[in-house]
Symmetry: C2
């Protein structure tokens, strides 16, 4: 493809995506196709000679869009948000053209250095303790990981390396395997599935501890588990605290967890994947109280800070153990400036890495801190508005405190009734929610996800839920001759 | 940022990057800045109010470009190529706007389904055995991983799960740890550093076996190692064969390795990260003879097939063990169509994933198979042309057979002399090479990397090397009173 063709094609695509996003409200949020819909729409193999770009662009609407779940529709309330913004898309064009693989400083110094500085900018926006920032001149610093799952795994591997080294110093006669067999990690029963997975991948035991009545992991639960394991001859080495759990957006008590971890030399990793973005607003920072006691901290600007996936920000107080766990240094990757800047390949699972800090730079500059704060506050405000609508209807109950942008609610009544309601809502296709379950109670989650969400969209979402509820209750009454919602209607 | 501003900004960026790439030959391939150059060019923190996009764009040339190593310059010959093409950049604009997180089918069916079909298209282009393809209707299929490192690790974890299950069936009294302690993986001393890393991450022993006189791992070396370990009571479980090693682009003998692995129920993973793209040309497929004996196969279209990073294609004959090793399934990720299409989150380390198959679709359609084949052949031809230039100068020797796009060469003489030469070449900054070392012999690597490379660029590269050689030898002669290159000049 020649440069002139590229310019035509790319500019048409720019118009197409602007049109897609500006009018995304008009599309059905969930597709209606069945599994296997796409294969019959395409040839069985790649063409021998080039297709026209005009045909490729036309096929986007014909082949792709019918199968897209529109995550940026203001009617998408599933999971948690994923970010998307115009400045990030433009930054990715530049990243794609430079297309360096920043595994070491020399492989493209700007790629490493902008990342170091952008993680400082971002850390300052959250008011992270200076120990985590490279600009403090200490050991600490930040890095962009692909996902929070990787950050959790990287921290676990660093913790494992640190503890194995410490224990080996005390017991030189023990093999690594003997030590690893004794290692125990801790997290709450409400932490993300990726924490369990990190334990599986890292080959260590992981305990899922009970939470309090607000779904929070507390110091006592952690202390008791650790003391019990120490008594049994095991070695506590790693704990993950969650700020904003996926199921109900609960915030573990970091201050309590931090004290326990520091006392027992257990690496405390903080997973604030979704909610971390809120800490750019001072009024939400009480939720991260105790952060100075953590060893590593992670949140996803690619969730709620308008920076497209993937951009998961991780800070380490002392990267030594992570770097040490991964360091495999062949001659073709050595360079003369080693040591004077981070070689980020040692900080992550993959070797290669894209120039992702450009997205951070563009978004932070083109929004500015105040507009980003306003964006977070607007989402929180809309969540509380939805909460107030739910509370006005006494068929429903709110099942978790609404703190940032997630509202957990259910019909008073059986889990089955709520499952039926959820299916009905998603089947209607106007809005999209996913459910969760805590302590055997099934509930619905309404996350404010889209940057296009306005009060009117929340009104529509609520109308959809009410209409679906009316249908479900009508049918349930007709079918069973009784009202399934505990007498309310 | 409003849609109209976005259109202006994005279109200016399109012009900027087209201009950057079309004139990339004029830029110094290696930057001249020192570590720490960037921080003083930026404010200490993010702005409170928005900057203008015109200022951001202007800063790209001021702040970023002075620190960029230009991987797409025809004078960049370091590492291996990384891909970059106009159709891939346009596909990424669309991917950025849709910005779905395709961790399950329902999360955006098009994202999963296009990936399944594109991996079939690509597998057919390589003439992979049908067992690897989803369209065969068997268990096999392909997936896009971020990097070859992740593919190697995913395969290792699948192999580990498979072997632990098999051994536990025979010895129900053994603990997982007891089994894992006995597991041994194998690869050649020439395999990529990520294989060693996968062993570290997976917590298993990995043996690095000697290669033959052409840097290839052969069946005998693997068989002897496996038999020795079995005799010692250990459990061989995983082997990685490399097609196109990083140091010298050697090709392990897959047919021999496959026989040994199949006999001993060892999972054979094939890492063809760089060279795999060449298999779209029938004349290079002899190098992958025996592929039907492998359990998993991986190559990086993001290296040599014009699809921007990240796009590492992996095929598995039986994904069951990988899916099983990773499967952690919370309620909020369940959906009704589970089982009828792959939920790719179980095939990979991270949870989230971008819509990367769009890049494959755009590139395969807008180039077509024949132009992609011509692209591969041109690079191989240019490598042989460079080889012929080196051979004409009897101060030099070729240190490995030139098979695809890499030429390994050195000055006849000491390693020190060659190290001095390499430093001189990179110091001049016109071209960029990295060295490697095999069996204590240090040599230089010239990889044909850029899509813009023409015969004249290879001529210039060679002139640069000759000029640097003249300088180095002159200085060496003056300094030591003798000619360092074994009497040749």
């Amino acid at each position: 493809m020649e440069a002139n063709q590229f310019k035509d094609f790319a500019k048409e695509m720019i118009d197409y995506v602007a049109n897609y996003l500006e009018n995304i409200r008009d599309r059905r949020v969930l597709p209606t196709i069945e599994p296997g819909y796409l294969r019959p729409l395409l040839p069985e193999k790649a063409p021998n000679t080039p297709d026209k770009w005009e045909d490729v662009l036309a096929d986007v609407e014909k082949v792709i869009m019918p199968g897209v779940t529109h995550w940026h529709s203001p009617r998408f309330h599933a999971y948690f948000p994923t970010a998307n913004s115009y400045p990030a898309i433009v930054a990715d064009i530049l990243s794609g053209a430079i297309a360096c693989i920043g595994f070491s400083w020399i492989a493209s110094p700007a790629c490493t250095e902008l990342e170091v500085v952008m993680l400082d900018w971002l850390g300052k926006m959250l008011d992270l303790p200076s120990e985590f920032l490279a600009c403090s001149g200490g050991k600490g610093g930040g890095v962009i990981q692909g996902t929070a799952s990787e950050a959790t795994l990287v921290a676990l591997l660093g913790a494992k390396a640190r503890t194995v080294a410490t224990i080996k110093a005390e017991h030189p006669e023990w093999t690594d395997m003997h030590i690893i067999e004794k290692l125990v990690g801790y997290t709450s029963s409400q932490s993300h599935s990726s924490v369990e997975r990190a334990g599986l991948l890292g080959g260590v035991k992981m305990r899922f501890l009970p939470v309090d009545d607000k779904d929070r992991l507390r110091g006592t639960a952690l202390r008791e588990a650790i003391e019990k394991d120490i008594e049994a001859g095991l070695i506590p080495f790693y704990a993950v605290g969650t700020l904003g759990t996926t199921s109900s957006c609960a915030f573990d008590n970091l201050e309590e967890l931090g004290d326990v971890c520091n006392k027992h030399n257990v690496w405390l990793h903080v997973d604030a994947a979704y909610a971390g973005s809120a800490f750019i607003c001072p009024e939400f920072r009480y939720l991260m109280k105790g952060i100075e006691k953590a060893d590593s901290f992670n949140f996803n600007p690619h969730k709620w800070l308008l920076i497209n996936f993937d951009c998961s920000a991780m800070w380490l107080k002392n990267p030594y153990w992570v770097v040490n766990a991964f360091n495999v240094d062949p001659l073709y990757l050595k360079h003369e400036q080693q040591g004077s800047a981070p070689d980020y390949r040692h900080w992550q699972i993959p070797l290669g890495r894209r120039f992702r800090s450009l997205k951070l730079w563009f978004v932070l500059r083109l929004y500015g801190v105040e507009k980003l704060q306003a964006y977070i506050r607007k989402h929180v405000h809309l969540a509380h508005y939805f909460e107030s609508l739910v509370k006005e209807d006494d068929r429903f109950e709110i099942t978790a405190e609404v703190i940032v942008g997630l509202v957990c609610f259910r019909l008073k009544g059986s889990n089955e009734l709520n499952e039926t309601l959820l299916k009905r809502i998603n089947g209607r296709g106007v809005i999209h929610l996913v459910p969760s379950k805590i302590k055997d109670q099934y509930f619905l989650r309404m996350a404010v996800c889209s940057q296009y969400t306005e009060k009117e969209d929340i009104d529509l979402t609520w109308r959809e839920i009410r209409d679906a509820t009316d249908e479900v209750i009508d049918e349930s009454t007709k079918l069973n001759g009784f009202n399934g919602v505990n007498g309310h209607h």
